[in-house]
């Protein structure tokens, strides 16, 4: 007998009673932790019926959770603050990518923050102690993820050659016309509504469907462009996402006991998918393809693999037993996956002073790649970019603005009222079918019928002033200055339409454009062609 076995036998003989408790032994008692009383229900009750006997898949106690996460934190921050520091990682990133990370890190931070509150909502509504335990772990996870996204910005602000924008995006985003789209999908889609609806948005769609392309694919593009900071953090985030996906699955399992409420589920899934897709598909695609010097694979292809095949096929396939089908809007989303990010990029270039980052128009090399992977791209977008460049898009003395160019040619920029994202009815190639509706004397723009239907059914959920209404009448340079979009010299803009360190635009250059924010709904009598 081996010496080690003898030692074990001897130890057992000396200590016949087990002297430790496995966390799993504690977890199995969790379902007994609660009790019934008359008033007991969620303060935020759901229209569904969540089963008190639902179990969670990842059975973690608080201490075991902390042990696991602490190890991940040590690895992550050790890599960031030791390994990557010594490799001067902040100065190995291509500027195109580094600049887009100013938006990506902050926008994802907003998503994680929304997820924190959304998970707390589920923690309240669920009646099963095990489910509560799982949602609580997600609440704390989301604190972690906010901290992590912020750590990317914080790290970049200390080590990257252009910290402007990383340091203050939490302020600067207030004037970014793309940011309300983040708020709609992440900031409120995850938490402002029925808890199960929030779970579907957060866990079943955003996390189960889009974190793979958002977090995993994005890290591949990051590394290709010299960024090892983002993969270090984002892949560590992704290790928690599996538990969140399981929480989403268990949410669905928990409501299956009442067939009367199941009639809501397909509609909630369809709406959630469209809500999340409407922002994530164009934004992630634009970040990957327009924020990179070195391309990995066309976004449409990644989207097809992760969203269409993996999520809509395999993941939702598991839920077929509960009567769930793929969202009806999936076909339109598939069309968006090809063109919507190009549409959004065009608007981002047109509105560059408001983004807070340095953008660079696609060059010849990019154009060839775009045309090879998206046939027809050059005729539609490439020629516009060439014309803009020739008219002085990059030149601070030109007084040129893509937005003014569009408006002067009747290409109005509107805000889709349901998604809160800008769109251009005449230049968009995504799944657009614009409409303009009126309610209580106010006109509302919609880029497609899925969002329009959501508004028609619940208009009170979308009562707000959009970007143009908020800032109508503001002169552009005044707006940028007021939002903190100026560098420490007091005049040079944080946002730039090129990546050079020379010919940087200042407030005076911006003033030369002579652009006052309009409300297109007032000045353009545009109607969709019949």
């Amino acid at each position: 007998m081996a010496a080690s076995n003898l030692a074990v036998k001897q130890a057992l003989k000396n200590n016949p009673a087990p002297s430790s408790v496995d966390p799993q032994e504690v977890h199995k008692w969790l379902q007994d932790f609660t009790w019934d009383f008359k008033e007991k229900a969620g303060k935020y009750p759901t229209k569904y019926d969540m089963d008190v006997n639902t179990r969670e898949q990842f059975k973690l106690t608080a201490k075991e959770y902390a042990r696991m996460e602490s190890a991940k934190e040590e690895r992550q921050f050790g890599t960031l603050l030791d390994g990557l520091d010594r490799l001067d990682a902040g100065n190995k990133v291509h500027p195109r990518w580094g600049e887009f990370m100013k938006l990506v890190a902050n926008f994802l931070e907003t998503g994680e923050y929304g997820a924190l509150a959304g998970s707390a909502l589920l923690w309240d509504t669920a009646q099963s102690p095990e489910q509560r335990n799982g949602y609580l772990a997600q609440v704390i996870d989301e604190v972690r993820h906010v901290n992590q996204c912020a750590s990317v910005s914080y790290y970049y602000s200390k080590h990257y050659y252009d910290p402007a924008g990383f340091t203050n995006m939490r302020q600067l985003r207030a004037i970014n016309p793309l940011y309300p789209g983040v708020k709609r999908a992440f900031g409120e889609g995850f938490l402002a509504g029925d808890a199960v609806e929030s779970s579907i948005n957060l866990q079943l769609v955003a996390e189960a469907c889009f974190t793979n392309p958002l977090i995993v694919a994005l890290t591949e593009w990051a590394a290709a462009n010299g960024d090892e900071i983002t993969p270090t953090v984002f892949l560590s985030i992704e290790t928690d996402e599996l538990r969140h996906m399981a929480n989403g699955y268990q949410t669905i399992v928990s409501i299956m006991n009442n067939p009367d409420t199941m009639k809501y589920l397909q509609t909630d899934l369809d709406n959630a998918f469209w809500t999340q897709h409407k922002f994530l598909t164009p934004f992630v695609g634009a970040a990957l393809e327009y924020g990179s010097r070195f391309k990995v694979e066309p976004w449409a292809k990644s989207w097809n693999r992760w969203v269409y095949e993996d999520w809509a096929g395999i993941w939702l396939g598991r839920l077929q037993q509960f009567g769930l089908k793929s969202p009806k809007c999936l076909a339109d989303a598939k069309k968006d996956a090809v063109w919507a990010h190009h549409d959004l990029a065009l608007l981002a270039f047109a509105l560059w002073p408001l983004t807070g980052i340095r953008l660079e128009l696609p060059d010849r090399q990019d154009m060839e790649w775009f045309e090879a992977n998206y046939p027809g791209w050059y005729e539609h977008y490439g020629k516009i970019y060439e014309e803009w460049r020739a008219l002085g898009f990059e030149d601070p003395r030109s007084g040129f603005s893509g937005a003014v160019w569009m408006l002067q040619r009747g290409h109005g920029i509107f805000i889709d009222h349901t998604s809160s994202l800008p769109f251009c009815p005449t230049l968009g190639k995504g799944a657009l079918k614009p409409s303009f509706l009126e309610k209580n004397g106010k006109r509302f723009a919609f880029s497609e019928p899925h969002g329009e239907r959501m508004w028609l059914q619940e208009p009170e959920r979308y009562e707000f002033q959009n970007f143009f209404e908020q800032f109508e009448g503001w002169e552009l340079s005044d707006l940028v200055k007021a939002a903190g979009g100026v560098r420490s010299d007091g005049k040079t803009l944080m946002a730039q339409p090129h990546l050079r360190s020379t010919d940087m635009w200042t407030l005076d250059d911006l003033k030369r454009i002579n652009f006052t924010v309009p409300d297109p709904m007032r000045i353009l009598n545009w109607q969709p062609a019949h």
Binding site: V21, T61, R67, S70, T110, V139, A164, T167
Partner: protein
């Protein structure tokens, strides 16, 4: 990986050449101060603030927010999230709060991991070294078997009450602290059960199930006012600041501290139980941190350093104190009947004078920390006298 020929730009010489050619010779910006627009809680920006402060995308009706405008998706019916109507107190800057312990995620889980590892080693040592054998059997089976288990329900109910306070809290650093306080309550309940499971392994006559504990929590007069209080604070209160004040500022600082510290921690040793004081010391630490943060929030932020609404907030905190003190008093008064069930009665520890001294310690500490700062008129002697009728 979507490509077999994947290249890492950081270490690929060709790509780095292109990248370096695109990087300016000098940094484009010399100022690297993070969130420069934010008011610092300490002389310099801490990592705790850098990774969370102003992360919240809120509406401009939440004072202190960086946002312009409002939330773009509401609840059915049109109610927004992060609404200042979620509480009666008012702040000129909801982002002013700072947790004195500066706990963001990493230090938080690190602390808990260390506590978990220490607990694991302590329990093993306690079980193997003979300490376990010192324990009075009646204490083990009656008190730990029943009443210590009932404390699980107290902690679980208070943990559950944190869900809506996390949801409703109006700024990011508040949400962080409240999430951690809720997590600690869940942990405290689980650690009690962990100890009870170990006892079940070591002693054949100890039942680690929660049946008797639940029965005590539901029916034993010792626990009924406490259960009613917890149920009310969990499901009956919708103002999230009121909830936090009632939980950490009143009930847990009086009833919770008495049960954990003056009863279980103090009397366990008397009965040869050296493990329970260790387990409860972690819960006491959690309460101390929650208590400090609540003071920073309700006293420092909402009253002492609130330039406009301090008087308004003080009125509400006083009113809430008046509302929740009687329930807490009743809970403690009923709990004192537990002394009659103790296996050992020791003069100087379990006698009336000693218990009264224990109540006084708790009440005086509470008054110093929470009643005096809000100028709450509190008759400590009358409170103690009433509570002692339960002995």
């Amino acid at each position: 990986m979507s490509s077999n020929s994947f290249v890492r730009g950081m270490v690929d010489p060709y790509r780095q050449t292109i990248i370096q050619a695109a990087i300016p010779e000098q940094p484009l910006e010399s100022k690297r101060d993070h969130i420069p627009f934010a008011k610092r809680g300490w002389r310099r920006l801490t990592e705790y603030e850098a990774v969370m402060l102003h992360a919240q995308n809120s509406v401009d009706s939440v004072p202190g927010s960086q946002e312009v405008g409002e939330s773009v998706q509401k609840w059915p019916g049109g109610r927004p999230n992060y609404s200042i109507e979620s509480t009666a107190v008012i702040a000129g800057n909801w982002f002013y709060f700072r947790d004195p312990a500066k706990r963001w995620f990493m230090p938080y889980v690190k602390q808990k991991t260390e506590e978990g590892q220490t607990a694991e080693r302590t329990m093993k040592s306690w079980a193997e070294s003979g300490d376990a054998g010192m324990m009075n059997a009646d204490w083990r089976n009656q008190i730990l078997g029943t009443h210590y288990g009932a404390l699980v329900y107290n902690e679980y109910g208070l943990f559950s009450a944190h869900s809506t306070t996390v949801y409703s809290a109006l700024s990011d650093l508040l949400k962080t602290w409240i999430s951690e306080a809720g997590f600690d309550k869940n942990d405290a309940g689980q650690m009690i059960q962990m100890e009870r499971i170990l006892l079940g392994k070591l002693f054949a006559d100890f039942d680690p199930s929660l049946a008797a504990a639940k029965q005590a929590w539901m029916q034993d007069p010792i626990w009924q006012p406490a259960r009613e209080f917890v149920q009310h604070i969990w499901m009956g209160v919708y103002d999230w600041v009121e909830q936090l004040w009632a939980i950490h500022g009143i009930y847990d600082h009086i009833f919770g501290q008495f049960v954990r510290r003056e009863f279980f921690q103090r009397l366990a040793g008397l009965h040869g139980d050296t493990l329970t004081p260790f387990i409860q010391s972690q819960a006491l630490t959690y309460h101390q941190q929650a208590s400090d943060a609540l003071q920073a929030f309700c006293v420092k932020m909402l009253i002492d350093e609130e330039p406009v609404y301090g008087a308004h907030n003080r009125r509400y905190l006083r009113a809430w104190t008046k509302r929740y003190l009687p329930g807490t008093q009743a809970a403690l008064k009923a709990f004192l009947a537990i002394y009659k069930t103790l296996p050992l009665q020791v003069e100087g520890i379990t006698c009336k004078a000693s218990v009264e001294a224990a109540v006084r310690r708790i009440v005086n500490d509470w008054a110093r920390r929470f009643a005096e700062p809000i100028d709450y008129r509190f008759d400590a002697e009358a409170f103690i006298a009433d509570v002692m009728q339960g002995y």
